[in-house]
């Protein structure tokens, strides 16, 4: 288990527990053993990143139409796929009709580095020199739920702590009035996330490591606003009453847990004030709002989430994960991709530029990608009309992007074959990405362990290597 170094504990308690009976409080603090689990801890090594923003493109974007151009496929469009490539294919539905589906998208080189992006990502193209595009990821399962669990929790089985929980467990939270690990959801078609909340679960860790979902309807955080009729003063009055009664009980029982309880209530109260401030864009310039596409469709929701992500990072939130659902285009791929990209491309690019402009990109790691890729073949299911086909799931090769916090931008890593079916150079696995994210945060993925049911668990299980070439 890693050595957790608690710092600023005393300071924290001094700030938060004021109001307890002074004598009881001093005695509690003098012998306190119930430390705040979210206090900042020193990492294993020097950290490049303080925060992570993971733009998770749920449902699996088509790498062949976005990031991994395959001009040669045009020659074979509509022809059967080479048998040698698909002989191990399991889903007979697809094998029966495995014809090549070339991408109709034009690719263009961007920036000094000349990185290639498709016409669907003109804005992310402008970030080329900051982005490292890795075209050679593979994963272990071609169904959404297990593959999303693998990406977000390190295991294809539900129930493990998610990557944000691991990071909070390893580093604590620098933010004293917002949750350290926030999840935001958005959608192109009204669908949620496969596997749902298990993707940001604390698994077998205590619930304070859980991802807190910032919601688009109602309160941003569940039960954040006071009940109807309760003003801020009344809430403060209620909290003072609770604190007073807790203080009386602490004197009788001597239980230091009561001090932690008081601290949690004070943090809840601060969240109630801090969250509306976080959500208040009125002091952002018109230019900034425009850059993120806020106030117009189709970018408003995703753009607002991207801007929120930046504002959270500014306030010290450790791990922000955005889930955009769903890129799962078995049908009508071309039309749907237009829509997903119209929604996400501009805000995602704005986020990177904005972070850089404010000097935050140096300490913020930005990740973009989904749980796997899509096939180079048409998927023709019953009811599909010509021209409206899609691509099926593909776990053998897919692309992801990273930027910021020590990532060497302006480069492409890894190579797939001429059909984008298999990785032929520099293969990487999802566990390698996880090891790299932790590494940039100063955490050694082999030493960040948590004991559960007799075993020391790791995010990366027994796998994973840091993707060294991606780093400056």
């Amino acid at each position: 288990m890693h050595v957790a170094q608690y710092i600023e504990r005393r300071d924290f308690f001094r700030r938060t527990a004021a109001g307890l009976g002074a004598i009881a409080l001093n005695r509690l603090l003098a012998q306190d053993s119930a430390a705040d689990p979210l206090l900042v801890r020193r990492p294993h090594a020097k950290a490049r990143a303080k925060s992570v923003i993971f733009l998770f493109m749920s449902g699996a974007p088509s790498q062949l139409d976005l990031l991994d151009p395959k001009p040669l496929m045009r020659k074979y469009h509509g022809e059967p796929m080479p048998q040698s490539m698909i002989k191990d294919l399991k889903d007979d539905l697809i094998r029966g009709s495995a014809r090549v589906m070339a991408s109709p998208r034009e690719f263009q080189r961007y920036g000094k580095s000349g990185l290639e992006f498709s016409e669907l990502l003109p804005n992310l193209g402008t970030c080329a020199d900051k982005l490292c595009v890795i075209r050679s990821f593979r994963t272990d399962n071609a169904n959404h739920t297990p593959a999303q669990f693998l990406m977000n929790t390190g295991s294809i089985l539900a129930g493990r702590p998610s990557i944000g929980s691991w990071v909070l467990y390893g580093l604590g939270s620098e933010c004293r009035d917002l949750p350290g690990y926030v999840v935001m959801l958005s959608t192109s078609q009204g669908k949620g996330v496969c596997g749902g909340a298990a993707n940001w679960s604390n698994g077998f860790m205590p619930s304070h490591f859980r991802g807190v979902s910032f919601r688009n309807q109602g309160d941003a955080v569940l039960h954040l606003s006071n009940p109807e009729g309760v003003s801020a003063e009344m809430q403060r009055g209620r909290l003072d009453l609770i604190r007073g009664l807790n203080g009386e009980r602490a004197r009788i029982t001597g239980d230091s847990e009561i001090a932690s309880r008081v601290a949690a209530y004070e943090l809840a109260f601060r969240m109630q004030t801090a969250a509306p401030d976080l959500l208040d864009f009125s002091r952002e310039s018109a230019k900034t709002l425009e850059m993120y596409g806020i106030g117009k469709e189709p970018t408003h929701t995703f753009g607002s989430n991207c801007l929120l992500a930046r504002r959270m990072v500014e306030r010290g939130v450790r791990f922000v994960q955005m889930y955009h659902s769903s890129w799962d285009d078995h049908n009508d791929l071309h039309k749907n991709l237009n829509r997903h990209c119209a929604i996400t491309d501009q805000p995602a690019a704005a986020l990177i530029h904005d972070l850089e402009r404010r000097g935050l990109l140096d300490s913020t790691l930005v990740i973009w990608g989904g749980e796997f890729g899509r096939t180079p073949m048409f998927e023709v299911r019953r009811g599909n009309t010509p021209g409206k086909e899609g691509r099926d799931h593909h776990s053998e090769a897919f692309s992801m992007m990273m930027a910021g916090a020590g990532v060497r931008g302006g480069q492409t890593l890894g190579r797939t074959d001429d059909f984008g079916y298999h990785v032929v150079d520099q293969p990487y696995h999802v566990h390698d990405l996880q090891a790299t994210i932790l590494h940039q945060l100063g955490l050694d993925h082999t030493r960040l362990t948590y004991p559960f049911q007799g075993r020391q668990y790791r995010l990366t299980d027994v796998h994973g290597n840091v993707i060294v070439p991606a780093l400056a």
Partner: protein
Amino acid sequence: MSIVPSNSQIRASRLILLTLSARSFLGADFARDVLPVFEKRCHACHGPAVQSSGLRLDGPEAVTKGGYSGPVVTPGNPAQSRLYRLIAGLDPKLAMPPAGPRLTPTQIAAVKEWIVSGAAWTAAARTKQSAKPAHWSFVAPRRPEAPQVRKTGWLRSPIDAFVLRKLEDRGIEPSPEADPATLVRRLHLDLIGLPPGAGVVERYLADRDPNRYENLVEELLRSPHFGEKWARSWLDLSRYADTEGNESDFPRPYAWRYRHWLIDAFNRDMPFDEFTMRQIAGDLIPGATVEHRAGLGFFRNTLSNREGGADIEAERVEQVVDRTNSVGLAWLGLTVGCTRCHNHKYDPISQRDYYQLYAFFNNADEVNLDAPLPGESGDWLRRRPEYEKKRAELLGPVAAGIARLQQTWEDKVRWAADNPGKDHVWDRQLELLGLQWEQGYGGGQLEGVSVLYLPRDDRTKRQRDHMQEMFLGRGSVVDPETWKRLGLAEVSKKLVALNKEYPPMTQAPSIVERAHRRRDNFIHLRGDFRSRGVAVEENTPSALPPLPSDTKRNRLALAQWLLAAENPLTARVVVNRVWQDLFGRGIVATPDDFGTQGARPSHPELLDWLAMDFREGRWGFKRLLRTVVRSSAYRQASARRMELDTADPTNSLLARQARFRISAESVRDAALFVSGLLNPAIGGPSVLPPQPAGVTSESLYADWVESTGPDRYRRGLYTKMQRTAPYPQLLAFDAPDPNLMCARRERSNSPLQALTLLNDPVFVEAARALARRVLIESPPVTSARLDLAFRLCFARPPSVGEIDRTSSYLERETARLAGLPASAAALAPAYIDGIKNSVGAAWSMLASGLMNTDEFFTRE
């Protein structure tokens, strides 16, 4: 490195050739040339201490037996010997040794030569196994004598002697007995999971019977809420939820039948041996009824996957693995799951042991049984003829056609099952039958395929009907033209609609041992079922006492073995979990790991005494609880003693009771109970209390249709658990992730808990209801009202300081609210004659404040 070999490389390889031929000529000496290589480079992983992949290279069985993938040496034939191929680097996937430099060409040649010449093990006897004493938990308990103590007046039960002796040895006094009101509240929360009702404490205090404590214990053990409290820990162990998990997370509308069975079993005080046999082998008990078999619902809380493209065998294997691990955790307290892929790193459990245990469950098929609750079947049967008539009217005109086509369809699907990969159309039909059987009704994974192999007459009516429905829903490929001509698509649609009108009677999810087409058992190399290792049979772990040789090796024998007197684990593991519930921490602090990496027992003799007493007391569960809660150790005060903070910071010596937050479910229950809102109904289907809009839509397909009426106020235990979007209040208070088995819940403390209790409409409503209750039930004076409110929430009157704080709070808030009529109207409880809104609203705020204090949701 350059592609063209350098001169020195060429010279080196010539040298190797020379050496090789010289060796061949001279012959290798096993003891001199081969065994030292094994010792130096192989024994770390394949020796006396560790046998990776089941292989040990320190005795003749290296040759005769080999490892999990079979023999590794074929005498006379190095090319067919896995041992040689791996050390020589001939296998592209794997080379041995896996770390450090490769073996030298000389060493490789010596091994090769040894194999060529017959692989005789000519060296002296194998390395001796180190004689470490067995781990404590692997030695069966004996009933220890209660130790001598000085302060004999403290002893109420043999338990106390064990606790007191340790304290006396260290010169520590036990804590005084908790005050009676605290004891009453503690007993209520511990035994039934609810705080004491109004007047209970007062009656207790007024009771002059010297046995009032014992009488209260009996009363609580008889309460129908007792089963609700104790069922929960078994739901945790079995990873209970009301949905299937995975992407579509379909409902399991009858999962609750197992919960119902648990509540009933605890309330009837089913002896633990019977409880175990029904949960592990209910179908194999002679004369088993549905009530025996409903206990097997324990195994039906594994996840299911109905996603197209899911590998149905992989999903099934995952379920068997989960079942194996559940038994390991719930009864043996061991982390057997580690050995799925490799021998246990720390405990004497091998991968072979694992698949022998796995074999007990590998031929159990999922099945749903008609399991009506009392009073249910009459009504169901009355409506049945109507349904049958409508079904016959619908199907009658095309019955002959359907029968003929369905016969062909079933034959072809069976053919596909026996000839996988031959025809993808029929492979798909098989897959759909396996994945989608009773989809939305919680049908078993692969249940459809098992039914397919049942002769028609052996199928139940429900199975016959549903097979026909599966065929009508998906079987058009059998003959598309006739299908169209008979209009079967339309018939199928109408049939689905008809079935919705007449839901099935309550089903019990269960498993049943298959009689035919039994699956082989073998070691899954590296945990992958596609990599077959050597064959194994049902057996128990070799480090534990053997099964009796004369019994048939099935789940019933396994259950009896768990309960046998020689079994060192089961009774200890169970009493330890009970102790954990009653003292906040187990005698073994790691209830999920009794292995060598787990915690040592703080009171080993006490643990053994309890285990023996449990077994010899005919496994009586209520008897066990009675024994513990009557003890002086249990009745101690829980207040912290500063002088012990350094001597015993974790209170493992039990010089006081523990003070801890109650469970997620109890937090809800307590708020509803004290406010008078709780609907005390016992058992039955899950309910959907209000939760904020949008929570469920974070997952892919789930939907949350709020219950209406009294179902909104059921205990937390009955809240529907949707795996992909669990109920937020339960999650915030550390209800376990329903995808994992859990023997010990976390107790965290977070701002989200505070926000929930302060602002969640469920708790706001409870606060208003409590205010109303106080204003109605108490004499109309503030001091009397405060007295009642404190008694309801904390089972005690307020202190002087608390009266000061609360009455001045009330005055302030009443004055404030008098100027805020809208706030007052929103917060005041429903109209009470003569009470102004501002007063009512201030009381609502105070009630909420009380329900947010640490003491409210803490068991002291």
